[in-house]
Symmetry: C2
Subunit: 228 residues, 2 copies
């Protein structure tokens, strides 16, 4: 019985996610669903990423998902970009319906890349599509290199894994090789970017991946339009 209910919820969610995907495609927006444990560094990544993308003329929009407070979106107020905060109350993840509500308050025509920062949780957010092109997950070195094996779904569903806080590597027993091996055993196609949002090391690889994905999406959409 319980499984049936969940099945229906997920189907209903996926239908809304598909509508969001079409809406974003009509504005040529690349959407990234950013997920991690609490405190891995998602908001700091957004700060570093927006600083780099805006001077390139790539316009960013942000949906912030949190159980409570506007602390994360407050940190992004210094940028001249559209931001919508969702407070989920008790929900441990964003779903497509929440995301649709947020997007109805955000002008997508002025956005190239939309970041949707999910609730800090290495488990539940991975189960819900919210209209994204890519799920991107962040693992910080202080969390441990075995996490892909212990929380496989998120690593399986993601296109890229950012390994953050490499400036703290020397103070932990985190092995980069072990982390890569564990992650690729779950998802061989996972792109992996070690980086530090504090020192800036490794950020360029992540930015390059994203701008390449944006170009690929634009070309794909252009081809579709020509065919019509």
């Amino acid at each position: 019985m319980k499984i049936t209910v969940l099945d229906n919820i997920l189907k209903a969610n996926d239908a809304i996610a598909e509508e969001i995907r079409e809406e974003l495609a009509s504005h040529k927006v690349l959407a990234i669903n950013l997920m991690s444990s609490p405190g891995a560094g998602k908001t700091t990544l957004l700060e570093r990423t927006i600083e780099k993308l805006e001077p390139l003329g790539i316009h960013v929009g942000v949906v912030e998902g949190d159980i409570a407070t506007t602390r994360d979106s407050d940190r992004l107020r210094k940028f001249d970009i559209p931001i919508v905060q969702i407070n989920t109350g008790s929900a441990c993840h964003l779903d497509a319906n929440m995301t649709r509500s947020a997007l109805s308050n955000l002008d997508c025509s002025a956005v190239d890349i939309l970041f949707i920062e999910n609730v800090g949780n290495l488990v539940c957010p991975a189960e819900f599509k919210i209209g994204e092109d890519h799920k991107v997950m962040m693992l910080s070195v202080t969390e441990g290199d075995e996490k892909p094996l212990k929380y496989p779904l998120m690593f399986r569903e993601s296109s890229a894994m950012l390994i953050n806080k490499i400036d703290l590597l020397a103070y932990t027993n985190f092995s980069m090789d072990e982390a890569r091996k564990n992650a690729h055993s779950i998802n061989p196609k996972l792109a992996i970017f070690p980086l530090s949002c504090t020192t800036g090391e490794g950020l360029n690889n992540w930015l390059k991946w994203m701008t390449t994905e944006l170009e690929k999406k634009r070309k794909r959409l252009q081809k579709k339009t020509k065919k019509k």
Copy 2:
């Protein structure tokens, strides 16, 4: 409709949790439900805690909750204590029914303190009673001092908060004062223990709290028996 279903699930869960509580009381076991984000250091805390308690003649039992793998229980195999691993599959938290199944495989008559290590998740585990005397949550300094405000339920439900990885304090912008202030604004009664499972600093305060709680529970149960 959805709320009604959840309400029933929680009531059914609480009834089983109450049965577990009675069973544990009959064996004079103190049960700690240990919760945190992934990688905060729950299993390392158990290693350090068992090393200290066993020489005092306080016998420990462990229920390990993980989505997948037996990595955490493997780390505890070196101790001569009863351990049961629960693999939840996709469930993002332990519930009372899972805990009851685990306990049917564990001899509680040989245990003084039972640790139930929950799935690494700062959100969902806080909603489910599993027969514990205390919920204890761990926050690591690398996660950030604003977490009590962003994930209030877990901090509200817990009796004690362990602030782990204080050996890394100098490399982060974590403020111990801010963390205390934020936590106490959510839960004024929360006991707070800064510690490092790497250096051992602060562990004694945590051990003292726990052994005091064990004594208090034993006295309470003794009084009850006398009354009968």
